[in-house]
């Protein structure tokens, strides 16, 4: 069986199995095992020869980056989740039936995201992103507190509107393709669309792209459509915050990138770049200022995700081999660093029993390993050398300076504002007098350390084959 099928079947089967199995310990272990198998299947895609694209499945240089990243963070988040959930059960925040539901939804979400990434069909992609959204909505609301339900409802309504707009855009793409490619399924297949794009009606494609950008842009968390994101991150279980920031935003971005490539294949259509550059810059600068007044630690890092998605969208909007390379690298680095931060924050919140930044102080004294680890991760996400985020941000800025200095100034301004906010909060979180006695840390830090090690490695030395691979994808993106 081809690994691309396994990437889909393993999470789907695991979801059904987890829904049936009682016992949260067994469920948590099975969740990790299933995620590991999915990751191995994804890694096999890298090594084995790729299957030829058919009407439903496609593996190419672009989506394989996303699939491997998705399955890797899915695995480490499952590892973190096992310890996290155990603590939530002991403290009575979650009951075993809810945890069973949570594990089943986790694998269903992985299935939805992987399907969105490997599908060759724009309609199926839409259905898959909707499935992934629905499952995360259910997990965000799992604590059943007033705030959690409110966050889930807001996410639900805004996500549904976004997804509805994206569907209208998808229909418009079909209407543009149908006269060229004929009725039925062939007009919804990526590989056909890319070949036929030069003959599509440009005006119709323009309109379609605006709907798709607004629709999937809502899911990427771009300002001004980001309102669901901070709530969903703050009120859900922390492993889900990590997965939302690290993966789901990327999946929506992948959809935007695919449609951008389609637009680029029809020279008479508007250039999609300026729209993406504008929304990216707006998100970056807006989120950078919003970082200052945050009092909830998870909400704080959620705004940081909006900021980084803005940078990534900006880079892809600029286009060209260098900016695309930088955008792709930044996406990978952000996913790894941000999920690592959420693994660390999840433990801190469980130890301190609060998400308020004011009440989390002196981590360097009360929990040195955890505190210094978080400090390093915050420095990494702020773009300090020697971490990988520095490298990718540097590439984004330098490639922009060469082509549009005015935009580069705005970009640097946003980055500096965000940097200030991150250092400010870093100071209050790590230093000062701790207000609670040290309590033991229960969760294994392996997931956090693994991510940070990769981010550090990438900052010091990028292996040659990886660079070649990313450069190839960057060329593909145009």
């Amino acid at each position: 069986m081809s690994p691309v099928v396994l990437v889909l079947i393993v999470p789907a089967a695991a979801s059904a199995l987890l829904a049936l199995l009682p016992g949260y310990r067994l469920g948590a272990r099975l969740n990790v095992v299933a995620s590991l198998l999915t990751f191995l299947a994804a890694a096999a895609l890298l090594v084995l020869p790729r299957p030829a694209p058919n009407d439903y499945l496609l593996v190419d240089d672009l989506n394989i980056v996303f699939i491997v990243l998705n399955c890797f963070v899915g695995l480490t988040a499952a590892m973190f989740s096992a310890g996290y959930i155990g603590h939530e059960i002991e403290t009575g925040h979650l009951s075993p039936p809810y945890v069973r539901f949570y594990h089943a939804m986790y694998q269903l979400m992985m299935f939805g995201m992987n399907l969105a990434l490997v599908t060759n069909n724009i309609g199926l992609m839409w259905v898959a992103i909707e499935l992934a959204t629905l499952t995360t909505v259910l997990m965000v609301g799992i604590y059943r507190t007033h705030e959690a339900l409110e966050a889930a409802w807001k996410y639900f309504i805004l996500g549904s509107v976004g997804i509805a707009l994206a569907l209208f855009g998808t229909i418009l793409v079909y209407v543009a393709a149908q006269p060229v490619l004929g009725d039925g399924t062939p007009s919804m297949v990526w590989t056909n669309l890319m070949k036929g794009a030069p003959h599509f009606d440009p005006a119709l494609l323009n309109l379609a792209f605006i709907f798709l950008m607004l629709g999937y842009g809502t899911k990427v968390g771009l300002a001004p459509l980001h309102a669901w994101l901070p709530d969903a991150h703050a009120e859900g279980p922390t492993p889900i915050s990590a997965v939302l920031s690290g993966l789901l935003l990327n999946v929506a971005l992948y959809a935007v990138l695919r449609f951008k490539m389609l637009m680029a294949a029809q020279p008479a259509a508007i250039a999609p770049g300026p729209l993406m550059v504008g929304m990216g810059l707006l998100s970056l600068i807006f989120a950078a200022f919003m970082l200052y007044r945050r009092r909830d630690i998870k909400r704080f890092f959620a705004y940081s995700s909006i900021e980084h998605m803005g940078i990534i969208t900006f880079a892809f909007g600029m286009g060209g081999p260098l900016a695309n390379f930088a955008g792709l690298l930044h996406m990978v680095m952000h996913s790894l660093t941000k999920s690592a931060i959420f693994y660390s924050v999840g433990q801190i919140v469980q130890i301190k029993g609060t998400q308020k930044i004011d009440r989390i102080r002196g981590l360097s004294q009360s929990h040195p390993a955890l505190g210094w680890g978080l400090a390093l991760a915050i420095l990494a996400i702020a773009g300090m050398p020697p971490f990988g985020v520095f490298l990718s941000e540097f590439l984004v800025v330098s490639s922009t300076f060469a082509r549009a200095p005015a935009l580069a100034l705005l970009l640097v301004f946003g980055l500096l504002v965000a940097f200030g906010a991150l250092l400010l909060h870093l100071n209050s979180l790590i230093f000062g007098e701790p207000d609670s006695p040290p309590t033991p840390v229960r969760i294994s830090p392996s997931a956090f350390r693994l991510h940070m090690a990769i981010v550090l490695m990438a900052g010091i030395y990028l292996p040659g084959p990886l660079v070649d691979w990313f450069q190839n994808v960057a060329r593909l993106l145009g």
């Binding site: 007033h146 409802w153 509107v161 209208f168 009725d183 009606d201 119709l204 308020k356």
Partner: protein, 220 residues
């Protein structure tokens, strides 16, 4: 497509826009649900007509889902919910009816101008169908932003979705329409269950600032 079948399709799609307008000025939830039922019935007729003229049998399934799910089950469930929640009397509107109607007319004009302008190469039917569908979508969005009540927001979302189904049914030979209808139905079922289980009455109309400040960091 013959002259007659074109006219009838035109009539039904235009009817859907008209019913969308009717929903905008319903200021009671009960009447709003009645109008939504009418909306779903018109959609059923429009999709069934498309299925017949295009000879696309799978669209009959979409029409059947629209009829059974949206015209019978969902309004029935929502009637029960609003009676249980005791909110069947009024709909709170953020903007006045007159202003909303004017905004609605502006949106319809916008969608017709935009759509007829960009679809010059498509067939006459596809052009007008898309223009009507976009109008229904925009009117649904308008309804979602001008209402505060969660139930009327759900109704606004469903009418928006009806516009999408109309567009998908009108795009000749579009695959996956049935699957998309089913996916949407599941989405709506979740929303309705959510409203019922969690007794959501008001929409949460804050954007992170203001009233949300008091929740921040106070979870658990």
């Amino acid at each position: 497509m013959g002259h007659m079948s074109f006219d009838i399709a035109h009539l039904l799609a235009g009817g859907l826009v008209l019913v969308s307008f009717m929903m905008i000025y319903q200021d009671r939830l009960h009447a709003l649900l009645n109008t939504f039922t009418l909306h779903a019935l018109v959609l059923t007729a429009a999709v069934a007509w498309q299925a017949w003229t295009q000879g696309a049998d799978h669209l009959y399934i979409t029409a059947a889902i629209a009829l059974i799910f949206k015209a019978i089950i969902i309004p029935g469930a929502l009637y029960r919910i609003i009676r249980r929640l005791g909110i069947h009397r009024e709909v709170e509107q953020v903007v006045g009816t007159g202003l909303t109607m004017l905004a609605g007319m502006g949106l319809v004009a916008l969608s017709i101008v935009v759509m007829l302008d960009v679809t010059t190469k498509a067939t006459a039917f596809a052009r007008e169908d898309l223009a009507f569908a976009l109008s229904v979508v925009l009117l649904g969005l308008l309804m979602m932003v001008t209402r505060r009540n969660a139930v009327s927001q759900v109704v606004g979302f469903m009418s928006l979705e009806n516009g999408l189904i109309l567009a998908a049914a009108g795009a000749k030979g579009m695959p996956l329409v049935v699957e998309i209808t089913v996916a949407f139905s599941i989405l709506i079922a979740f929303i309705v269950i959510g409203v019922f289980l969690f007794r959501i009455r008001e929409r949460f109309d804050t954007v992170d600032l203001g009233a949300l400040d008091r929740f921040r960091g106070e979870m658990r």
